[in-house]
Amino acid sequence: MIQEKIIIKNEVGLHARPAAQFVKIAEKYQSKVRLCKNGVWVNGKSVLGILTLAAEHGSEVILEVSGPDELEAFNELKKILEAE
C-alpha cells in the first residue's frame, strides 16, 4: 500500500474535468484507490465521491493505492492531482 499527502495545484480545485480524468486512470488499474480530505475517505474510482470532497486549490488530500499494480497507478494518479 502506498499513501502520500498531496497538495491540489489546480487553479479552482479538483473539479469535474480533472476528477473524470482521475477516475478514468484509476479504473485502468486493479489496485484499490482511495482519496481522503479532512478525514473523509472516498473511493477513487467514483467520480461523484471525489467531487463531494470539494478539494479546493491548495488543500491537502491523501492518495492511497493498494494492489498488485499500485506503484504505476500511484505515480500516474499523483500527476493528475498535482497538475496545475
Partner: protein, 341 residues
C-alpha cells in the same frame, strides 16, 4: 471511431415528372396540355423552381434548365406583346433547353405556339388553377419532401417521452431487447432493424420503418423467440409511424479500455445526413438495465433543451464552493438546523 459506420447507402434522388403529376394532380390542380411523351422522360432533381422571364427575353446564359419553369401572368403578358415569330423564338429559348416541365399558373391561356414546341422537344406542359405564389409554395414543399436526402440505418428508433432515440450498436448487443423493454415501459416503437432516414431540413432528420407495407412495420426480432409483432402485443399506444431522430444511443461492448463518459460535461456528437445530433455511448455490462438508462438519456436531453445541464450546473456550484474562502467553515447546509431527526 468511424461516425458513419452504420450508414448503408445514400442514393442520389430524382423523380419523374409523371410521379409529380400522379401525386399532385389534384393538390396543385394540374392539367396536362402538351408534351405527354416527356412525362416518363424528364426527371426532377431539385426542389428549386425558375421564372424564365430573362430566357424568354433572349438572355439564356446560365439558364437553370434542371428546374421546373413557372409561367405566371408576367411571362404570359410579355409573350402576348410579341409577334408570332418573336414569340416562337422566345418560347424556343426556354423549351429547347428541355427543362423537366413547364407550369402555367393562374389558369392562364397558354401562349400560341407553345404546345407544338413542347411536343417537339417532349417537354410536359401543365396548366394550374392555382395562383402563382401559392403554386410555387406548394410545389417546393412537395419537391423538398420527395427529393430530401435519405439513407438507411441499422438500429432501433423509439420515441421515449417524445424524444426520438436511435439505438445503434453491433449485432447481438441488445438493441432490439432494449427497444422491447422501452415499449414495455410505455414508450413507442418507430422501427426495428432497418430504418429509413429522411433529411427534412438542415437540422431535422426523420426516421421511419423501411418496411414496404404497413403490416410489416413494428416487428422486432428477439433472439431465441423470433419475430414478434409489437402492435399485436401492446396495441396502438406502442407504435409510431415516424419520429424525428434527436439522440443517438450507441450500445458499446464493455472492455477495460473503453473510454466512456463519467461526468457528462462534454457533449459528444455524431452526424446523420450532415445533421449533427448528440451521441451517448453506453457500455453494456451484464445486469445493467439499458431501458432505464435510455429513459434517463431522453429526460436529460429534455432538460438540456430547456437550458439546464445537470453536470455543468453541478460543476459550477462545486467550483463556486472551492474558490470561496474558508470553505470548511462556510455554512453550506442551512436547512439541517430545521431538519433534525
Amino acid at each position: 471511431m468511424d461516425e458513419n459506420k452504420n450508414f448503408i447507402e445514400e442514393p442520389i434522388k430524382s423523380i419523374y415528372v409523371s410521379t409529380l403529376f400522379r401525386d399532385q394532380k389534384e393538390n396543385l390542380k394540374l392539367e396536362l396540355i402538351a408534351g405527354e411523351e416527356g412525362l416518363k422522360l424528364r426527371k426532377l432533381v431539385t426542389p428549386d423552381i425558375n421564372r424564365p422571364g430573362l430566357a424568354l427575353a433572349g438572355f439564356t446564359q446560365e439558364f437553370p434548365k434542371e428546374r421546373i419553369q413557372i409561367l405566371g401572368s408576367t411571362e404570359i403578358s410579355y409573350l402576348k406583346t410579341l409577334s408570332a415569330t418573336q414569340r416562337k423564338n422566345a418560347i424556343n429559348n426556354v423549351v429547347s433547353f428541355t427543362p423537366p416541365c413547364l407550369i402555367i399558373a393562374n389558369e392562364l391561356t397558354p401562349p400560341e405556339g407553345l404546345v407544338a414546341l413542347a411536343n417537339k422537344y417532349k417537354v410536359p406542359v401543365f396548366k394550374s388553377a392555382l395562383e402563382t405564389t401559392q403554386l410555387i409554395h406548394m410545389l417546393t414543399t412537395y419537391l423538398d419532401y420527395k427529393l430530401a436526402p435519405e439513407t438507411y440505418l441499422h438500429g432501433d428508433l423509439v420515441d421515449v417521452y417524445g424524444v426520438g432515440l436511435l439505438l445503434v450498436g453491433e449485432s447481438g448487443i441488445g438493441k432490439s431487447e432494449c427497444a422491447l423493454d422501452l415499449v414495455e415501459r410505455g414508450h413507442r416503437l418507430v422501427a426495428d432493424d432497418l430504418i429509413k432516414v429522411l433529411k427534412r431540413s438542415e437540422v431535422v432528420i426523420i426516421g421511419f420503418s423501411a418496411a414496404k407495407s404497413p403490416k410489416l412495420k413494428h416487428h422486432i426480432e428477439i433472439r431465441g423467440v423470433g419475430i414478434v409483432d409489437i402492435y399485436a402485443l401492446y396495441g396502438i399506444r406502442a407504435i409510431r409511424m415516424q419520429k424525428r431522430i434527436e439522440v443517438q444511443v450507441e450500445l458499446v461492448r464493455y472492455t477495460k479500455d473503453l473510454d466512456y463518459e463519467r461526468v457528462g460535461i462534454e457533449d459528444k456528437y455524431t452526424e446523420i445526413l450532415g445533421v449533427k445530433i448528440p451521441l451517448v455511448q453506453i457500455p453494456v455490462i451484464p445486469g445493467k438495465n439499458l431501458a432505464l438508462v435510455c429513459e434517463v438519456i431522453a429526460k436529460n436531453y429534455l432538460l438540456k433543451i430547456l437550458g439546464y445541464s445537470p453536470a455543468k450546473s453541478f460543476n459550477e456550484e462545486l467550483v463556486r464552493l472551492m474558490t470561496q474562502k474558508n470553505i470548511e467553515e462556510a455554512k453550506i447546509d442551512p436547512w439541517i438546523d430545521y431538519d433534525i431527526e
